[in-house]
C-alpha cells in the first residue's frame, strides 16, 4: 500500500514501554521445540519482540509477514545486531494479531505489512528491543561478577569480562537478567561497529524452504478439518439463484455443499474430506446465477472510453506554473498515450485460509498480511468483537499485495463458508488457480495521455499528464474523507522528479464493479512507465542522450541522480557499447527508495534477447545487502512478466484468463542476468520489496524503441506483437 499521507500522520508510539507486560499466553506454539522448552523455564522477554531462552536461542517476534521479501531475516538482523547475538542461534516467529503491540508505525494504529515499510518502520523499534535485552544481560553479568557494566563486552551471544577472564553465554544469564527492570533509555550501537547489519546474514528461512518443511496456509491440517473448494459467480456482481448439487454430493468424501455470500462476492462451496474430492465435486455443480446486477463490461470498450476521457481535463493532482499557456506558446508539442491492462497478482500459493468459527469467537490460520483489517472485517461479518478473533501468522507463498485486502475478501469468504455450513470445526478454503486468477482484485487498467511543450531551443518547458483509471483506495478504510485524488493513482507522476517549470498532473477516477487492489509498487507500476518512456521520447526527438537528458533535469534530486549515475557507470553507458546491443535506461523513486536500471538488449539470431539488467538502488542503509539484491532481482522478474505478457481482459464481463497458460508468467529461460549495485548510505533504511519493479518496463521499452524505431505505448508487449528471444 502506498499511503504517504498516513506516513505523515503516523504517531511514533513507544510500544516497548508496554511491551514487558505482554503475557506469555499470547505466544502461539507455532515453531520449534526449542522455543517451547525455553518458555517453560522463564525466558528473558524484556519486550514484545525478543525473548532469550536458557538454551541460548534468541527468538525474534516478527510483526510483519514473511511472504518472500526477506523481512524475517531483516528484522532479526536488526535485533541481533544490537543484541550482539550469535546469528546461528536466532529464530523468528510470526507475531500474534495484536495491533496494540504490533502495529506498523508507518500505518498509525494499524497492524499490517505493505508499502515496503517493514524495515523502515521497525528499525528504531527493533534496535531498541535488541539493545535493551543486551543491557539486561550485561547488567546481570555485572551483578553476578561484581564488576562495572562498562567493563563488559558482548559478542556472538557471549558476555565477557576480559579483565577477570570470566564469560557467560546468554542462556546462563537469562534467569538473572529476567529479574532486572527493563531499561528505558539504552544507546544504540555505533554503526561503525556493526557485525551483522550490512554484512549479508544468511536467510533464516532458506533451509526450511529448501527442504519442504516451511509451513504455509495450504499445509495446515487440523483435526476434523474440511476443505472447501468454491465456484464463484462468473461475473462480478453475480449472485446464486439456485444450485443442483446432486452429482457433487455423490462424490466420495463430500460432506456439504453450501451457497455463500460476502460483501464482495457470491458462490457455492463444496466441503469435503480432502481437496481433490472437493475440487471434483465442485466441477460437477450445476449453478443458476442471478446476473441481474452482474457487470458485463469488455476491456477493449473500456480502453476506448478511457482514451476519450483523457481528452478532457481531470481533477488536479499537481499544478506548477501555467502548463496550458506554456503548451499554447510552445514551439513544439509532443504527445503520447499509454495503455495498461488489468493485472493479476498470481502468487504461487493460490489464495486460501483456514478458519474455525466458534461460539462468539473465531480462529484463523493464514499467511496474514493485514491483521487489523482482517480482525475488523471478520468481527463485523460474524458480529463479534475483533478481540475475539485470533490469527496464527504463517508463511505466505507470495502475495505482491493480494493478501492485504481492505475487504479481507478471501478471509471473510472462508468464514462465510464455515458459517453457511454451520461448522464449528476448522474449514480450509482453497481457491483453485482458476478462481485465484478470475476472482478480481487486479491492478487497475489505466490510460495515460501526456503532452510535452518544447521551446525553440528544444528545452522542456511544459508537461501535461492525464491519468484515467479506478481508485484503489475509494470505498476502503484507507480513503480520506472527501477524497478527490487517490494518491495511489498518481504517485510517481504527481511527484515527477524532473525540473519542468509548468506541470499539470490530472486524474479521472472511474468507477467500475471490477475489484482492484495494490499490486507490487502500486501506482508506480504504470506512472513510471508513462513518465520514463515519455522522457525518452523527448530525448530521442531532440536527439539527446537519454541519460544525459535526465541528468540535466535532475540537478536538485541527488538520490535520483545517484542511482542513475551508478547504474550508468556500472553498465558503461558512456563507454563503447557492443555493436549488437541496444540499451535503455529508467529511474524511479517509490516508497522512499530510488532505483535506476539499464536494460541491455542483444541482437541474436532469432530476434532480441534481454541479456542483462544493471540495477542501482539507494534504500538508505542496506540492512542485508544480499536481500536487497534478491528483491531487486525478484522485482525485475515480476515486472518483466507483466511487461511481456501480463494482461487480464474482460469480455462481456467474463475474465478471459484462468491459469498459467492464458496468464503466462516469467520462466527460467526468460530471466535476464541481473547486476545489483547498492549506493552506500548512512540514511535510515527504506524498503526494497516493491521499488525494484517500476523502472524495469520503461528501461526495456526504451531499449525496444531504439531497436525497433518505434516507441512502445501499450503493455503488455505481446499484444504489440513484440516478443523477446
Amino acid at each position: 500500500m502506498s499511503t504517504p499521507e498516513r506516513d505523515l500522520l503516523a504517531s511514533r508510539r513507544d510500544v516497548l514501554k508496554g511491551g514487558a507486560a505482554l503475557t506469555l499466553a499470547f505466544w502461539l506454539p507455532v515453531r520449534g521445540s526449542a522455543a517451547q522448552s525455553a518458555r517453560a523455564v522463564e525466558p528473558l522477554a524484556p519486550n514484545a519482540f525478543v525473548r532469550i531462552g536458557t538454551d541460548d536461542i534468541v527468538t525474534v517476534v516478527s510483526k510483519h509477514i514473511e511472504m518472500g521479501q526477506g523481512t524475517y531475516t531483516g528484522l532479526a538482523t536488526i535485533v541481533a545486531e544490537e543484541l550482539d547475538a550469535d546469528w546461528s542461534k536466532v529464530r523468528v516467529e510470526g507475531a500474534p494479531a495484536d495491533p496494540s503491540v504490533y502495529n506498523n508505525l508507518n500505518f498509525g494504529p494499524v497492524m499490517g505489512t505493505g508499502g515496503s515499510s517493514s524495515i523502515a518502520n521497525s528499525f528504531d523499534q527493533l534496535r531498541k528491543a535488541g539493545a535493551s535485552a543486551r543491557a539486561m544481560l550485561v547488567a546481570a553479568a555485572a551483578k553476578r561478577w561484581n564488576v562495572p557494566a562498562s567493563d563488559i563486552t558482548v559478542s556472538r551471544g557471549v558476555v565477557t569480562h576480559a579483565a577477570s577472564g570470566r564469560s557467560a553465554r546468554f542462556g546462563e544469564l537469562v534467569a538473572d537478567a529476567a529479574a532486572l527492570p527493563v531499561p528505558q533509555d539504552v544507546p544504540f550501537k555505533d554503526p561503525a561497529s556493526y557485525s551483522l547489519i550490512g554484512k549479508e546474514a544468511a536467510r533464516v528461512d532458506a533451509r526450511q524452504k529448501s527442504t519442504g518443511t516451511a509451513t504455509f496456509t495450504q499445509d495446515i491440517h487440523l483435526p476434523g478439518m474440511l476443505t472447501a473448494v468454491v465456484m464463484h459467480a462468473p461475473r462480478f456482481g453475480g449472485k446464486v439463484k439456485s444450485f443442483d448439487a446432486s452429482a457433487a454430493k455423490a462424490v466420495k468424501g463430500v460432506k456439504s455443499v453450501v451457497a455463500f455470500e460476502t460483501p464482495v462476492r457470491a458462490g457455492v462451496a463444496v466441503l469435503a474430506d480432502n481437496t481433490w474430492a472437493a475440487k471434483k465435486a465442485r466441477d460437477l455443480l450445476q449453478v443458476q446465477w442471478d446476473e441481474s446486477n452482474a457487470y458485463r463490461g469488455t476491456t477493449t470498450e473500456l480502453f476506448s472510453q478511457y482514451r476519450d476521457l483523457t481528452k478532457q481535463p481531470g481533477a488536479s493532482a499537481k499544478l506548477t506554473g501555467d502548463p496550458d499557456k506554456a503548451l499554447a506558446s510552445a514551439a513544439e508539442v509532443l504527445e503520447a498515450v499509454y495503455e495498461f491492462p488489468y493485472l493479476a497478482h498470481a502468487a504461487m500459493e493460490p489464495l486460501n485460509c483456514v478458519v474455525r468459527v466458534g461460539d462468539g469467537e473465531c480462529e484463523i490460520w493464514n499467511g496474514e498480511q493485514f491483521q487489523s483489517i482482517d480482525l475488523a472485517q471478520v468481527g463485523q461479518f460474524l458480529g463479534i468483537p475483533p478481540a475475539k478473533v485470533r490469527i496464527h501468522m504463517l508463511y505466505a507463498g507470495g502475495s505482491f499485495g493480494r493478501r492485504a485486502n481492505p475487504q479481507a475478501d478471501y478471509v471473510v469468504e472462508a468464514v462465510a463458508i464455515a458459517k453457511a455450513a454451520k461448522l464449528s470445526t476448522p474449514v480450509k478454503l482453497v481457491w483453485t488457480r482458476e478462481e485465484d486468477t478470475r476472482a478480481g482484485y487486479y491492478r487497475p487498467m489505466y490510460v495515460h495521455s501526456l503532452k510535452a511543450g518544447l521551446d525553440k531551443s528544444g528545452q522542456l518547458i511544459a508537461w501535461q499528464h492525464r491519468i484515467v483509471g479506478q481508485s484503489i483506495m475509494a470505498g476502503t478504510a484507507f480513503a480520506q474523507p472527501d477524497m478527490k485524488i487517490d494518491g495511489s493513482s498518481v504517485e510517481g507522476a504527481s511527484n515527477l522528479p524532473y525540473a519542468i517549470p509548468n506541470l499539470a498532473v490530472e486524474l479521472h477516477t472511474t468507477t467500475l464493479p471490477v475489484p482492484v487492489l495494490w499490486w507490487r509498487s502500486v501506482g508506480s507500476t504504470h506512472t513510471a512507465f508513462a513518465t520514463e518512456c515519455f522522457i525518452d521520447d523527448i530525448a530521442r526527438h531532440t536527439q539527446r542522450d537519454p541519460y544525459a537528458f535526465r541528468k540535466t533535469l535532475l540537478h536538485d534530486k541527488p538520490r535520483h541522480l545517484g542511482v542513475l549515475e551508478l547504474a550508468a557507470a556500472k553498465a558503461g553507458w558512456n563507454g563503447p557499447r557492443p555493436r549488437d546491443e541496444v540499451w535503455g535506461i529508467a529511474v524511479h523513486e517509490s516508497f522512499n527508495s530510488y532505483v535506476a536500471q539499464v536494460a541491455q538488449l542483444k541482437r541474436v539470431d532469432d530476434g532480441l534477447r534481454l541479456a542483462k539488467i544493471v540495477c542501482a538502488v539507494d534504500c538508505g542503509l542496506a540492512v542485508n545487502p544480499n536481500i536487497v539484491a534478491m528483491q531487486m532481482e525478484g522485482g525485475i522478474g515480476y515486472a518483466l512478466a507483466a511487461a511481456l505478457t501480463g494482461a487480464i481482459t474482460l469480455q462481456d464481463g467474463v475474465i478471459q484468463q484462468d491459469n498459467f497458460d492464458s496468464y503466462p508468467v516469467l520462466r527460467m529461460n526468460q530471466m535476464p542476468a541481473v547486476e545489483v549495485h547498492i549506493v552506500p548510505s548512512k540514511k535510515k533504511p527504506t524498503g526494497v520489496g516493491e521499488p525494484g519493479v517500476p523502472p524495469l518496463a520503461p528501461a526495456l521499452a526504451n531499449a525496444l524503441a531504439l531497436a525497433n524505431g518505434k516507441p512502445v505505448r501499450s503493455l503488455p508487449l505481446a499484444t504489440q506483437g513484440i516478443t523477446l528471444a
Binding site: 544468511a202 495450504q218 480432502n274 504461487m348 508463511y395 534478491m630 491459469n659 498459467f660 516469467l666 530471466m671
Partner: protein, 152 residues
Amino acid sequence: MITLDINGKKVETDAEPDMPLLWVLRDLLGMTGSKYGCGKALCGACTVHVNGTATRSCVLPVSAAASMKITTIEAIGESSIGKAVQEAWVAENVPQCGYCQSGQVMSATALLSANRQPTDADIDAAMSGNICRCATYNRIRAAIKRAAATLA
C-alpha cells in the same frame, strides 16, 4: 487399496484411483512439501520423482503411480545429489516466498542425476517448467552450478 512405494516405504492408501498423486501425498499422507500451484502441470510446484524422472504429481492419477518408485521433497535430501542441491539452495539463499522451491529442488535434482555438468541451455530446458513468481531464477541457476561443482 492402492499400494505405493514412497521414499522407499510401502504405503497403502484408499484413495480414489483418479485422485492425483499430489493430493494423496498432501491430504491423505500428510506429506505437504509438494505444493499445489496450478493443477494442470503448468507450474511445477508439485514436482516429485517417479522412477527417477521429474513428474508433475498434480496430474498423475494415483492409480498410475502404483508400482512406481516415488521420491518426494521429504526424502530427496537422503540422496547425495538431493543433499548437494539443498545445501547449494541454502548457500545461494535461493528461496524467497519458498512455495515453489520444493518443486525446483526436485527438478534440479533430476537434472543433475541425469547430467552432472549441465550447461545454461540444459538448465533452461530442465527448469523452465517450474515457475517462481519471486523470480529466483538466477540464484537457482547458480545453485545448480554450485551443486554440480560439489558433486564433481
